[in-house]
Amino acid sequence: MTTTAVSPGYADLPRLIALMTGDDKHTAAAQSTVDVLWVLYDRVLDLTPATFREPGRDRFLLSKGHGPMAYYAVLTAKGFLDEAELADWSTVGSRLGHHPDRRRVPGVEISSGSLGHGLPIAVGTALGARACGHAGRVVTLVGDAEFDEGSNSEAVVLAGRLGLEQLTTVVVDNQSSSHGWPGGIARRFEVEGWETRTVSGRDHEALYEAFTAAHPGRPLAVVAVVEPKG
């Protein structure tokens, strides 16, 4: 008789997230991203522990490093991390902190925490992939409040002008920006020439369709709307 190990799935994420306690301030941030992260790692990105060092791989850059519990949970479910590591997170002996560190955690493309860095770095990474002839896509996740940082604006403009088709930005919108984005955050991308999709950040099919929509010659922005931050 043979047995087949069952990989953890979406249903395991709440349990994995619950193993990481002590960052209550950012629980909302973690909960807001969990579905987007799952769809990306489960169905959209070609990214596994076996391929994450290949130059032409898909790349996921978590810009909004706050509340990385959902990120670590998805990385665990996909085999990048061992579940046994999660409970000790943020201790001195752990490599998992409240903000991820790419030098310490395999599969983490960028260290984040200070806001407004992931999208600009992703522009450079997409330009580099293009210069190297790599077809892998570059996806970065930002928050709607993180989008307040002006550095994002510099990146949105340039990516639009250069038609960086390999670049996708997903904005998880839980309406936590202090001054808001009247008319929807997608407008900021549209005016700079991006293809945009605004979908429910809880609807896996809608997210999948948005991430896989054709957008020839233009970067893609997916606004994933979730319940407002309480």
Partner: protein, 295 residues
């Protein structure tokens, strides 16, 4: 003869023409001069417009994708305006890059304070692991750029309008004059004026175009019984004082740090020579400072 900036631009063009792994990132400054290279290599000569945060972040992203970025603009905008991007997107990500600035501390004196950057080396010095080159001659700038491209280290190459008459290509502190009453360290473009100021004085003159890593062994070897050390640096006075203190931790010594003054903002226009005088960095002022200190 081409100045440092012109030499850098022609050398960078040679590099991107011959090395498919190198990219040049600009923020409008010098984009006109590299327009031909950009036409030949549109994927690797990139002008992001007047966006210095994105300038540095783009360089970091290119490095993460496997390219070797040369990132260039004026020193005030490259280091001071985009410092968090240097700290996080390059250092903290452990991404390599060659940052090349032009403008030094006050190379464009008529432009005023907005175009001055005397604190750039001190800022870069607050980050571990950066190699910092302060060439004193266009030929040194070319050699240091060519030497910086291989590998994946983090390098800051600080170009200036001020230069010495001759290049020196040695490694570490080079002894250009030997004496017994003290050691004067001249960094980059300060050399010729230090040589003029020390004419006839019984002092050792050391020269460095690479100030980080600091050649502690070279300084230690030059220090004799009279452990009097004078730093003459073309940026914020005393920027390398902590390196001297560390190199001579067990040697009783005195130290004078000359450089761009810290006590006031020199609020004026004029010529380079006017600012040299204001900071006490002309040959005559340096000579007076040395005579006073080494009395």
């Amino acid at each position: 003869m081409p100045n440092m900036r012109e030499t850098f631009l022609s050398t960078a063009e040679e590099i991107v023409d011959t090395d498919p792994d190198v990219a040049v990132v600009l923020a409008d400054i010098s984009a006109a001069q590299l327009a031909g290279a950009a036409r030949r290599h549109p994927d690797r000569v990139l002008n992001v417009g007047i966006r210095e945060q994105l300038l540095v972040s783009t360089g970091a992203g290119l490095a993460l994708a496997g390219l070797r970025p040369i990132v260039h603009t004026f020193s005030a905008f490259l280091v001071e305006r985009a410092f968090e991007q240097i700290k996080l997107d390059l250092s903290h990500q452990d991404a390599g890059a060659v940052l090349v600035s032009y403008g030094a501390s006050y190379d464009m004196p008529a432009e005023g304070r907005t175009h001055q950057s005397p604190g750039d080396v001190a800022l870069m010095d607050s980050l571990p692991g950066w190699t910092i080159h302060v060439p004193g001659h266009p030929d040194e700038a070319r050699r240091l750029l060519l030497d910086s491209v291989p590998g994946d280290g983090r390098v800051y190459l600080r170009l200036s309008a001020q230069e010495n008459a001759s290049p020196y290509f040695g490694v570490g502190f080079q002894t250009l004059r030997q004496g017994s009453r003290g050691v004067v360290v001249a960094v980059g473009p300060m050399l010729d004026r230090v040589l003029a100021a020390t004419e006839g004085m019984d002092v050792t003159v050391l020269y460095a175009a690479t100030i980080r890593p600091f050649d502690a062994a070279g300084l230690r070897a030059a220090v004799t019984d009279a452990a009097d050390v004078v730093l003459v640096e073309p940026y914020l006075a005393g920027t390398s004082a902590h390196c001297v203190a560390e190199a001579l931790a067990d040697v009783p010594h005195r130290l004078l740090g000359l450089g761009v003054r810290r006590d006031i903002e020199v609020r004026g226009y004029g010529e380079l020579a006017d600012h040299d005088l204001a900071h006490g960095l002309d040959a005559g002022s340096i000579a007076l400072s040395l005579k006073d200190f080494l009395r």
